[in-house]
Amino acid sequence: MPEHTFRVNGEQVTVNVPGDVRLLWVLRDLLGITGPKYGCGINVCKACTSHLNGKAVNPCAIPVEALEPTDEVTTIEGLAATVGEDLHPMQRAWLEYDVAQCGYCQPGQIMAAVALVRRVAAEGRAITEEDLDGLRNICRCGTYVRIREAIRAGAEDM
């Protein structure tokens, strides 16, 4: 079985698995990293949103063989460590606004939110209503309004 090596949450990992298995299942089924959730498997619900080298990606749509040994995958479990704290500012904002209901989509929501704030900051502008409208992560509990409030608050502290 082919070996695939990449980095997850700051650690180098090697897995023995066919190269076409998508990263989501490598994380969840083989590495036991269960923060990224399955919601559709076709990159439309965004529940598995994680970061690859700091950008938002959906592991359900990435064959593990597409990763390089230097590629850094960050899941919700590793988000706080990227800022060297117990919680990332976006996670703190999520707590402040009591955003989660069932919580199933929330790891993906937070990872998407962090990437959005970074992207907007890189463009040298503030978050707009259109940016928030453009978030595609589904929350079937419908906590969308608190998500918007928390992103604005989290962005202030990032």
């Binding site: 269960t34 559709c40 439309v44 359900c60 989660a100 929330q106 309004v145």
Partner: protein
């Protein structure tokens, strides 16, 4: 509750005292009977049924003859543990439960550990999460158990400190005397334990003394949720429970005739087992990704399904044929309307899933289940095992919306595990969840109101629906009690309908009837069940009626509502939302009211139906009219956790928007076209109202009402009314975009789509 009726559990004890137990245990365990009866009201033979007894009374009463104990345990580490016999699926009941315990026991919220109880068959009807009943049914018993624990801790501390109980206070988990000596409850946990079970009485804190109940608290599982530590069923590490998926038929409930390439698929990478089961062909593999590939590779010959050849149009014809007659048209002026509500999906974001480990002589199941006892019984029957040999663990659920009342995945997982002799972690693909999962049945609602001058003489509503499957236990509760109700020989669906539909307006002679037809579909109670459709139809007609009488829609409702509590929420949204303010052409306000679960609610909505808004481009999504503002007022009697209540209202509002505008299933040739979230248009960020205000009214009662489903009906109705006023045409078919298919249907063979491989191209 008072002690004067002779029916309450505090008979002979005196006002505000309740009975409970200290159980024989190594540490302090205090208990109470779940769901004591509310003071029984004398039945009024001619009263509207919902005034006599609503669904929650029925569910509460059902618990009585079979009630059993729920127990609060004080541990040596100073924490307090409670296993809640209900399912947490996002509605926040673990948090509100912890608050009840924190209140009566005077411990900090973060010392209360609420877990979900395994299936407890001795609870019979009393482990069902539904009907927005959890807080109504558990509010008293949980507090009684906690109060008994507190009382016992105080008497134990008094003995330890050689002082009088009256000289002690308990605060923040610490007992203190007047001289400042203190004992943590953890240090008292063993000494306060009882060697034998004792029945004791206790007094509950009055509402005026509450310091936890009624104040906003964040969810107790919030930190786990935002760090990815919260464990759902598929996140559990059960040894050797490997990923499992099922290859399903191309039409609803089709059956396996034969499989052409079993050996080939069994040899695919990672695949450990392939086996035919009742609902399809199950595949177990090292990863779900390999399950997807194997399911797609299977070549199965399928037998016809239960809805073979059926379509939206044919079901509509069935409904028309089943509609009850409206009767003779009265000689007075009438307002009439006929409305259609299409199939909808109650798919949660966490798909149907379960873990099963079935051995020769026993079975263990893990799943988020709102009716775990019925699940346990059904699984035991399927496996031919005694019920006592089937352990059912209730896990935290990733949403429900009615979906988790059933246990379809748990039953399948048990079957697969038994057949292959290995543990399985079974999950439905999203396409399965959407196409073969439970639905809110298609329905029509016809309304006729007669009036004369300023008086409404009669209101008649005939609701006709594809059958709603209530075979998850709630039906059995109603069946068991139906004989005691003044409803004759109605079936339980009709009884459920009656009990949930109240007539809140003074509309003279009122009658609302349900007729059901066609049991060929996989249906279930979707959040708020019949009420969103029934209320939407009624409120649209109320707008018409107001117009006919030359009255403003808000003032008309206010004038005809039956009581002050109802008028107060309506008035609140009208004031806070600036009802009647001038709006641009193509935009409008709508207002609606709904009462259920001993609660009242009102919604004011503003909608923008202008072409520039309706046609704004969103990839793979439906934009359509945008709800730009919602003001929602709710009175649940007593709000245990206002922050959680606001969250439930917000979620219900998003459901209401989706039901009115965007989300439905299209039935064609015996299957639903929708196969994923890019086909089924539940409310998304681009549909979310930019301005949302939820107003929790001051408590009007000592008892909480239900909230989990409450907001859907008034929200859907207000959106529909706003849409009608903005466009000048009353909508009659829901959701309003159903006539436009906004996606290309995915194939049905193979039944699930391939996993995309272009994820890196979309990094952003």
């Amino acid at each position: 509750m008072t002690g004067s009726t002779g029916e309450a559990p505090d008979r002979g004890i005196g006002r505000r005292r309740f009975l409970g137990y200290v159980l024989a245990a190594p540490t302090l365990v205090a208990a109470a009977e779940l769901a004591p009866a509310p003071a029984a009201a004398a039945p009024l033979p001619s009263a509207e049924l919902t005034e006599l007894l609503d669904l929650n009374d029925l569910m509460t009463a059902a618990a009585l003859p079979t009630a059993n104990l729920i127990a609060v345990e004080v541990r040596q580490d100073g924490t307090v543990a409670f296993a809640l016999p209900r399912a947490e699926v996002g509605q926040g009941i673990t948090t509100s439960t912890a608050m009840l315990i924190a209140e009566e026991l005077s411990v900090p919220l973060d010392r209360v550990r609420v877990t979900l109880a395994d299936a407890r068959p001795e609870l019979v009807f009393n482990q069902l999460t539904g009907g927005s009943n959890t807080t109504i049914a558990t509010y008293g018993p949980i507090r009684v158990a906690a109060a008994i624990a507190r009382q016992r801790l105080l008497t134990t501390a008094a003995a330890e400190l050689r002082t009088d109980v009256a000289a002690l206070t308990i605060e923040n988990g610490t007992v203190r005397d007047r001289s400042g000596r203190s004992l943590d409850i953890g240090a008292l946990a063993v000494k306060a334990a009882s060697a034998r079970t004792e029945r004791v009485s206790v007094e509950l804190a009055p509402r005026s003394a509450f310091t936890v109940i009624g104040r906003p608290h964040s969810r107790i599982d919030a930190l786990d949720a935002v760090t990815g530590r919260k464990k759902f069923t598929m996140d559990l590490d059960v040894p050797d429970a490997k990923p499992t998926m099922v290859c399903r038929p191309p039409t609803i409930n089709g059956t396996v005739r034969s499989v052409a390439n079993l050996a080939e698929v069994r040899a695919m990478p990672g695949v450990t087992n392939v086996v035919t089961i009742a609902t399809g062909v199950a595949v177990r593999a090292e990863t779900f990704g390999q399950c997807v590939d194997a399911v797609r590779a299977l070549r199965v010959t399928w037998g016809p399904g239960t809805a073979q050849g059926k379509s939206d149009a044919s079901v509509l014809r069935e409904l028309a044929a089943a509609e009850l007659p409206m009767g003779l048209r009265p000689p007075t002026p009438v307002v009439e309307g006929a409305f259609t509500f299409h199939f909808r999906s109650n798919s949660a974001l966490e798909p149907n899933c379960a873990i099963a480990d079935v051995r020769a002589d026993r079975a263990e199941i893990w799943s988020s289940l709102k009716s775990p006892i019925v699940a346990q019984q059904a699984i035991a029957a399927k496996l031919r095992l005694p019920v006592s040999k089937v352990t059912v663990h209730v896990t935290e659920g990733g949403g429900s919306f009615g979906r988790k009342l059933f246990f379809d995945a748990a039953l399948e997982a048990a079957e697969v595990s038994q057949k292959i002799g290995k543990p399985v972690k079974l999950m439905w693909h999203r396409a399965d969840d959407s196409r073969q999962g439970r639905t809110h049945p298609m329905a029509t609602s016809r309304v006729r109101v007669s009036y004369l001058g300023d008086t409404v003489l009669s209101y008649k509503q005939r609701h006709t629906s594809v059958s709603t499957d209530l075979g998850h236990g709630l039906g059995e509760i109603i069946t068991a009690l139906a004989a005691r109700l003044p409803v004759g020989d109605m079936g339980f669906a009709q009884t459920f309908f009656h009990l949930s539909q109240t007539m809140s307006y003074r509309f003279g002679v009122s009658s609302q009837l349900l007729n059901e037809t066609d049991k060929d579909f996989n249906t279930g109670s979707m959040r708020n069940v019949y009420s969103p459709d029934v209320t939407c139809a009624r409120e649209l007609i109320v707008d018409q009626l107001a117009g006919r009488m030359g009255k403003d829609p808000y003032r008309f409702r206010r004038d005809f509502l039956r009581d002050d509590r109802s008028r107060a929420v309506l008035q609140k949204v009208a004031e806070a939302g600036g009802w009647g303010r001038s709006m641009a052409a193509g935009t409008a306000q709508g207002i609606a009211f709904h009462a259920e679960y001993k609660s009242v609610s009102a919604a004011l909505v503003e909608i923008d139906c202008r072409p520039a808004t309706v046609n704004r481009p969103i990839r793979d999504g439906v934009t359509g009219p945008r709800v730009t503002r919602v003001v929602f007022a709710v009175d649940v009697g007593l709000a245990v956790n206002p922050r959680g209540l606001e969250a439930q209202m917000m979620g219900g509002i998003m459901d209401g928007i989706a039901l009115a505008l965007t989300s439905s299933l299209h039935l064609r040739d015996g299957y639903f076209l929708e196969a994923s979230w890019d086909n089924y248009f539940y409310t998304r960020q681009w549909n979310t109202p930019p301005d949302l205000q939820v107003i929790v009214m001051p408590s009007t009662s000592d008892e909480p009402g239900g909230a989990g489903e409450l907001a859907v009906a008034a929200s859907m109705a207000a959106v529909a009314c706003a849409y009608g006023r903005a466009t000048g045409t009353m909508p009659t078919s829901f959701p309003i975009n159903h006539g436009t298919l906004s996606f290309t249907p995915k194939p049905t063979v193979p039944p699930i789509p391939p996993s995309p491989a272009d994820g890196l191209d979309h990094a952003r």
